[in-house]
Each structure stands twice: as C-alpha cells, then as structure tokens.
Symmetry: C3
Subunit: 324 residues, 3 copies
C-alpha cells in the first residue's frame, strides 16, 4: 500500500528535468528516470527520497533510492545521485505532487443529492450522493462536495473548494477559494453561549457566522462554532489539523497552523504565522501576537505580546522514580 | 455576515417595550426602535448591545449602539440610552432571541429517509433526508431529525428535541424533551470495556443505554458511550460543548456545564451545578460533589467532596526564560 | 433501560452449566437459573453480577444477585452463590456475551446505497442505506457497513468487519478481519503534511494508506490519518477508544490499548501491550517499547526504552489553598 504512489504512477521524469523545473542543484547522472517517491529507508529503483529531519541522516549511506533531495551540506554524505535544495522538504512536496493521482470528480449533481430550490450550484461543481444543500446557499465553480455532506442555509462554498465527505456547514458559513475540509468537520454549529437565569441555563442566540479565507485547510472531525454576534474568522492559508475545537468569535491570522486536538476558547485572537502544538489549549478573550510558537499540551492562560516559543507543563518521569 | 442578525430581522421593538417585557430599568428615549443586536464595538443605528465582561467596559464611551444593556453601576459610563439589568448577559440572551430567525422544519418524513417498520414517528415530527431510524425507536411530537442522522434500535427522541444534522444514536438512547444535539455527536456507542484474556483483548458486552434529561444540549462531535450494565445518565439541563468524551456509566448532575474537549472516564459521577473547564480530564470511578468548578486542562485524579474551584498544571513560560 | 439486558434475554442457563462451560469454581445451588447480568448493586433474581474492582467489595454483603463471580479470596465475603474465577472480569465478559442481543444485518446491498461499478462486494456482506463505496474497493464476506458510511477508493474491508454507522474510509485503507469501527471515525484522511514555501503553506502529498490488523477496534470520532509515503499501521488486536487522533505514519503494536482522547503525532511508534491513559499526548518521531503504561494526560516528549509506568503533570489543588 505504501507502494500505491508507485503503483499508480505512469509518469517518468529525468533528474535533469526535475532540477531545472524546480531550480535545484544536481550531482550524478542527469538521465536517471524517476517514476515515484518514497522514504529514504524504503525507496528503490526509480524512486526519489529526501532528507529533511537530521534524525534520519544516517540512512543516507544505505539508501537504495534512485536519488535523494538534500541540503548542500548533506550532499557529500549521500551515496546516490542528489538533487540539492535549500529546503528539501518543500522541494520534495512539489515533486511528489507530480506523482500524486487524485480522485476525479465529474461536474454535476448526483441524483441521490437533495438541493433546495433557492440554492445555486455552478454547473462545473460536483455534488456527490447523500448531500443536502439548504436554502440560499451557493456552490461556486469547480467546487467538490463529497458524499454525505450537509450544507445548511446561507452558506457559500467558493471556487475550487473541496469538502471531502461527511462535512457539515450548519448555517452562515462562507468559504473562500480552494478551501479543503476533511471528513467529519463541523463548521457553523451554535457556539456554547449560556447565561444562568433563575437556576437554569438560558441559550444565548448565536447570530453570527463563520468566514474562512482562501486556501485554508480544516482537518477531520474539527469543529468551528459560528459567532455569537460577529463572525468566527480564519484568515487566508490557515491550516487546522484534526479534532481541533475553535470556539465562537475566535479569529486566526493568515498562515497560522494548529496541530491536532488544539482547543481555542471563545473570542481568543491568534496572530499570523503562529504555530500551535498538538493538544494545546488557549483560553478565551486573550490575544497572541504574530509568530508565536506554543508547544504541545501547553495551556495559554494570558495574552502573549512577544514572538517566541512558549510552554507549560512538567517533564515526564517514570513513576517509581518519583516515589523514591 | 455578522449582519445576518440585522439582515433577517423584520421586527422592530421600542426600548420601552423591551424594558417592560423583561423588567429592566431604562434611561434615555423610550421610543427608540431596536431591530437587532450587536457587540458594543460594532453596533450601530437600531442595534442593541450589552456589557457583561468588565474587560470591554472602555467601549461604553465610544459605542454607537442605539442602546446598551448594563448593570446599574455601569449606567453612568454609557453615552447611549441604557437598559439596566441585574444580569445584562441573561437579559441580552432573552432579547436577542426575539431577533433570531430559525430554520423552519415542516412536519413529515422526507421521501429520502429510511424508517423501520417497527419504528414510530409522530406526525408532527420532521425527519430530514438521508435519515435512518431503526426498529422499536420512537420520535415524539415536534421533534426535528436533521439530514444524515442515524437512529439505531430501541431509541426514544422526546417532544421538541432537535438533532441538527449527522447525529448518531447507536442503540438504547432515550432523550427527554427539548434536547438539542449538534452535528457529529455520537450517543450510545459501545463503551470501552476490555478484559485481557490469554494475551488478547476480550470485549465486555455493553448492555446498558444512555439516558438524557430534558433541556440538555450536546455539542458537535461529542461522544457519550452507553453503559456496560446500568445506563450512562445526564440529568436535566446539562450542557456539553463540542468534542467532549463521556465514558460508560458516567452520571452528570442537573445544570452542570462542561466546556469543549473535556474527557470523563467511565463510572465517574459529577454533581449538580458544576462547571468543568475546557479540555479538563476526570478519571474513572470518582465523584465530584455539587457546585465544583474545575479550571481548563486540569486533571481530576480523586473525588472532590467540597464545593470550590480546583486546578492542576503549571504556569506557561517563554522557553528561553526557562533555560536561563 | 439498564434492564435491557434482561428484557431481551430469553436464554436461561444453570450455574452448573456456566461453571462447566467456562472452567469456573462453584459454591451454592448449581441448579439456580441465570437469565441475565447486572451490577452488584442492582442485580436481582436471575441476574449474575461480578466483583473485579476492590472498591466495590463492600457490596458483596448486600447484593441481591442470584450469584456473583468472584476471585477465590473474595468467596467467603459473598452471601450469594458464587462462581469462582481467576479473573472475574474476563469470566463475566464471556458470560455476558451469551445474553447479548445484537442487531441482525441481512446480507445484501440496500437500494439506497451507491456502489461504484469497479467495487466488489461479497454477497454475504451487508451494505446499509446511504452508504457510498468507491472504485476498486472491496467488501469481504460477512462484513457489515452501517448507514451513512463513506468508503473511498482502493479500500479493503476484511471478513467479518463491522462499520457501525457514519464511518469514513477516505482512500487506501485496508482493514483485516473482524475489525469494528464506531460511528464518526475517519480513517485515511490526508495527514497534516505542510512545508513553508515563500511565506505560504505548501501541501505535502499524502501518498500512503492505513493498514489495520485483525480484531482491532476503533472508537467513535477517532481519526487515523493515512501515511505520507509508507502506511500508518495498527497491528492486530489494537484497541482505540473514542476521539483519538493518530497522525500519519504512526505504528501501534499488537494488543496495545489507548484510552479516549489520546493524541499521537506523526511517525511515533508505540510497542506491543502498551496502555496509554486518557488524553495523553505522544510527540512525533519517538518510540515507546513494549509494555509501557502512560497515565492520563501525560505528555510523552521522548522515547521510552524500558517497560514501566510513566507520568507528567502536577497534582490537582483547590485554588484558594494554592494562593494562601
């Protein structure tokens, strides 16, 4: 199955072509043909590997890859032909995309979908089976709505968006262009707005929406609540991993990435180019400036006004040692 | 999109009417017409705002709202007409509800739904497309089952419940009246009951169900496992945010609220009027008395017998400071 | 509802039969008929209970169960007939299974399912309503695909698997035999592979798949990303509770169990017979050897090379005590 990349690939490209196309250095036979990509440890004939994490540097000497993408300073350690890049991982990402086979989605509305009369679907969009689309929602050119998605009322799915499968946009969710959302994600559910009144909870109406900028990606089973009054906002190119919870009226700046299982409470604001580690928590009504890094499982309890790396927590220990 | 509240609103109400209807004080022109609600920072002509969080008190002086709901002690700081409430947030919640437009759900079963012959659906209930309802399940008066919900066998959905979309009730789940469940929630899955036997895991049958009291709310992608023998129980008016995990045989007391991403392990018991902060964890087989507050990301490792506020964890620090 | 076990049970078995069938000791009247199971606290006529957790030992004296499964050393404390087992919980699991009634799933494809022409479904498999199955996927003998599941392209569902409802296998997911997956789980979504390139995120193609061994169980709303190049792998008999996040290229050894809400970052490797407590986190690219136990909400930041129990975090305190 790890060979799927190879199995599907029909394309063959010479190292020289790859070097020229992506502006990379080249050492070794330029005519070697590449037909797929693989890890340093598993790559064999015709497969290109890469070295980005220094942890795996030792594998350079034994790799049976057809060629390896490396930084200049690692080139001498390789026993294979090399492509030389400033950022081998980014170069690899671009080359791997050439060998990726993606499911095709024919234009049109599957007969097993239910589209409200007042909804508008561009003829070039793909609407899969078991999809429902509510009143006043709009699906724009080239968008793909996979099986089992539920689009409520007053939503917009921009050009080239992909909702992979079983995504829910509850109401008033507006996606920009080329947004990709993975299965099980829920955008636009009513935020957790409660007031205690005479010993019982009272729901605070959640009248806002969710706005997602161009090129954002939203992971599987991630939830983004709609705003109470104003909107919940993701600026462009925000990347959310799986099982993230974004409370109502949060705002996340452009190019920020959150790893899996992060929880962001209501009305928090996160700046641009931030990196939030897995399962970190950010309390409500605080602000993180641009370029803040938060490590895994850290609880951010107050605003951060200086770029830098922040952590909370204690080191892991073996329990018998703690007790002795 | 934050204007959706305004955009949809057709109703106009004079400040005097609002004051009288909700028992509020009034300072300023009683004939001012309100047609929507907004935040202090964004409200303009015809929009009502509120001040509950003291953090935003400075905005009173510059707000262009038509009127603001405040506590008595904040009234002098306002430059707009004010409605005076003991609890401005609760008053706001009630007034905002007047301006909320909610999707309407016609009675009847969508032709694209599959209902078992032995299931009973009240004629006033709404069953959306792509819903399946299993044998011996019952949907009561006025209940709304949105698109893509799966109701297994032996479930009860009480009067006025709303399952927004893509909710799963696996088996033996009984909801009281007016329970609202958000997309992706799963109730009644088999709990994590395992016994090790001769080096392999053995499943312990999960024979109980889930009982949810009146007026509970359950967030998006939250999971509540069914009991192993007895039931998993939520008493009335329990409020669960998104992505919460409730293990088998947990019992949660009335009026308790859990913020997003909390995990409660099997057979834990939580009292009434408790507040559990985001991403907190509660280990199995312990008991929290009434009126316990647990702060975000705290791990509760033993029973709590006194009301109060409890925390674990260490403060967040910038990493270079830790190292110096 | 806790009585469902009893309510559905038609079978009656004498204590003597149970003792003989499962190799248990017996004290008391061998002809007593058992028709169901219940907890020590709630069991009554005809119901069998068990004592495994010493916390509940005091209930032995007052239980009105027809009989109780106990360890030899607890037998004297019981006032009821007893079955004596080395591991009462495992013995209980086996006996309870006799009284479990499970939903039946007729063979065949529901007319409200959509199966790609190039997919293969064994005639003995059950495909429920609102299921879609993609090209080149295969459903093997006796497998059950419940309502609303989405199976993408190039997947294999082995003999006897059960996908309860609303499960998504995105692409290149291969399940062994007798794998059970609970609602809302998503396997095979694109992992979180990102490279920063000229100030914008670049997606790293995720070309691998997910391989799940025989007898694994995967909880509700759990997510398992597909590998970037090689596969993400669960060996046989791995047990994952609800809302777990498994990053791309993780490998989990046979017979390991993870409690709810655990997050495992990309390329981490967990050994065999490990037990990972609820909401624990495991960072990427590290390795845990066999037989490691990690307690709830611990962050594992480096490889563990010795079996044992590991923890991080600080004890919970009442907040006023911290401040005094």
């Amino acid at each position: 199955m790890g060979d799927a990349a190879t199995g599907h690939a029909r394309k063959k490209l010479a190292l020289a072509e790859l070097a020229q196309c992506f502006g990379l250095g080249l050492r070794g036979d330029p005519s070697i043909l590449i037909h797929g990509v693989a890890t340093l440890a598993s790559a064999s004939d015709g497969q290109l590997a890469f070295l980005a994490n220094p942890k795996y540097r030792g594998q350079l000497a034994t790799s049976t890859a057809a060629a390896v993408i490396v930084r200049n300073e690692d080139a001498d350690a390789a026993t294979t032909p090399v492509l030389i890049a400033q950022d081998p991982y980014a170069a690899f990402a671009k080359i791997a995309a050439l060998f990726e086979t993606r499911e095709t989605h024919p234009a049109g509305i599957h007969p097993g979908a239910v589209v409200a009369a007042e909804a508008v679907v561009d003829p070039s969009a793909h609407i899969g089976p078991f999809v429902s689309i509510g009143a006043r929602s709009r699906v724009e050119a080239g968008a793909v709505i996979g099986p089992g998605c539920v689009i409520g009322e007053d939503c917009v799915i921009g050009d080239g968006c992909e909702l992979v499968a079983r995504v829910t946009l509850v109401t008033r969710v507006r996606l920009g262009r080329n947004v990709r959302i993975h299965p099980g994600a829920v955008l636009g559910a009513a935020g957790f707005g409660l007031a205690m009144d005479a010993g019982r909870w009272l729901n605070v109406p959640q009248l806002g929406g969710v706005v997602v900028g161009d090129d954002c990606e939203i992971g599987a089973n991630t939830t983004i609540d709609r705003g109470a009054l104003d909107d919940t906002v993701l600026e462009e190119d925000v990347r959310l991993d799986n099982q993230i919870q974004i409370g109502h009226n949060v705002r996340i700046g452009a190019h920020t990435a959150l790893a899996g299982c992060v929880a962001v409470a209501g009305s928090a604001r996160i700046g641009r180019y931030c990196l939030i580690g897995g399962a970190a928590g950010i309390v409500g009504h605080i602000e993180l400036c641009d370029k803040v890094t938060v490590t895994a499982m850290t609880l951010v309890t107050h605003s951060i006004r200086e770029p830098g790396e922040y952590s909370s927590g204690t080191p892991m220990m073996e329990n018998r040692k703690e007790n002795s």
